[in-house]
């Protein structure tokens, strides 16, 4: 659900704001958050972004490594250069490509703190739905009826594989 939420939010932002992602077209960007054991691969193709759990040993154009605090800061719009300056982030590859992704993440309006807390198991199950408020509001204004969108989000919450249980013991 974590990956799917980010993928949906990014693509929504790209579509609604007509963002040209040509600068990162055909790029594979790996993003690792060390202290929560999170690894995501961002693949940009066909004017959309795919967020994939496992890069399956694919060659990446840019590799970004950071800690949880920096990851949260990225979504809050803290400039990438500030994080690099503080040595809170490590980038191997094109800084420009990393900057493009960072800009997209910052504009995605995801309640990332709550999403990460689900991932790490910091919250109890009945709170799960709250983190989708932001993305739900976005999607409600975009496609289909309210009922259809609610059904879609409820489906995701009810049956999507959750990692919260796996990481329950690691909550910080």
């Amino acid at each position: 659900m974590f990956r799917l939420t980010i993928e949906k939010a990014l693509n929504h932002i790209i579509n609604v704001n007509n963002i040209d992602i040509a600068p990162i077209d055909n790029k594979v960007i790996s993003l690792g958050v060390d202290d929560i054991d999170l690894s995501l691969f961002f693949l940009c193709l066909n004017s959309r972004i795919f967020v994939i759990d496992n890069g399956q040993n694919k060659k990446t154009d840019v590799e970004i490594r950071m800690n949880k605090a920096s990851f949260l800061s990225l979504f809050k719009g803290i400039p990438l250069e500030d994080l690099i300056e503080k040595e809170d982030i490590e980038i191997n590859g094109s800084i420009k490509t990393a900057q493009n992704l960072a800009d997209l993440l910052a504009s995605s309006s995801i309640d990332i703190e709550e999403l990460v807390s689900q991932y790490t198991g910091d919250i109890v199950a009945h709170q799960v739905g709250r983190s989708l408020n932001q993305i739900k509001n976005i999607s409600l204004s975009n496609d289909g009826s309210i009922i259809d969108n609610l059904k879609e989000e409820l489906t995701t919450i009810l049956i999507a594989p959750s990692r919260a249980k796996i990481f329950k013991g690691r909550a910080s």
Partner: protein
């Protein structure tokens, strides 16, 4: 090339399987949606909603729904792609296409194209679609590897493949309960609601003969796709495989 293949638990001549599967779907077409609701207790709707949510389809996209049957996915894709997009519902079985056409009209959806086609030889140009989906259809295809290669061929670069299919249950306790349900109750439901026990016995058997999650993932890779991942739904009773053409 192998001369026999499985049809449920039976070994049959390769060239006969397609006709046998056709017989099953000719028989169940009229009660297909009702039986899906009965057998899955409505959960198939959630599985399909999750598939749509994972599709990464956007306005203006071209979508091919293979083995689209009564059109559940096509209706949802149609809403996603908007007036500038295009959805094609294909099925090898004319009875299922007939039911699909009726169902779409009942839902007020008239702008979906219907194509009777074999998944192993799709009648579309290379690099045509942004998304190709097949829900509960792949296990009935005789040459799955050929069908997957065709799906890869007709997808554009950056196109998404979605395979929603019954799979291998992860939990042993759930597996036992599921086996009991599949082999004892589902055929009875088939007899009661659709007057056809044999077709639903085939359903239960064909699920067990279908490749498990990891095997199918390898097959998808072998067909040329990359970044293939699967998500087990309802404990692995069903799995959604998603892959990208790069």
């Amino acid at each position: 090339m192998e001369k026999t293949t499985h049809f449920g638990y039976k070994q049959v001549d390769v060239e006969k399987k397609q006709g046998l599967v056709k017989g099953v779907f000719d028989s169940v077409a009229g009660k297909y949606d009702l039986m899906n609701d009965v057998m899955s207790m409505g959960t198939h709707r959630l599985w399909k909603n999750y598939t749509i949510a994972s599709s990464n389809v956007k306005e203006g996209d071209h979508v091919l729904d293979i083995a689209g049957g009564t059109g559940d996915l096509a209706i949802k894709f149609r809403k996603k792609v908007g007036p500038s997009g295009k959805v094609i519902l294909s099925d090898i079985n004319d009875s299922m296409l007939h039911e699909g056409r009726k169902n779409l009209i009942n839902h007020g959806v008239i702008d979906v194209e219907f194509v009777q086609a074999n998944a192993e030889s799709l009648p579309f140009e290379d690099n045509t679609f942004d998304c190709v989906s097949i829900a509960f259809g792949l296990r009935n295809v005789t040459h799955k590897d050929a069908a997957l290669k065709q799906m890869h061929r007709v997808l554009k670069k950056g196109g998404t493949l979605l395979i929603l299919e019954f799979s291998k249950v992860e939990n042993q306790m759930l597996e036992k309960a599921y086996d009991f349900y599949s082999f004892n109750l589902i055929p009875k439901f088939g007899e009661y609601f659709a007057n056809d026990e044999d077709s639903y016995q085939y359903l239960a058997e064909s699920i067990r003969k279908h490749p498990d999650q990891e095997t199918l993932k390898t097959m998808v890779h072998d067909a040329g796709f990359e970044f293939c991942e699967y998500h087990n739904l309802t404990g692995g009773i069903v799995a959604l495989h998603k892959a990208v053409k790069t």
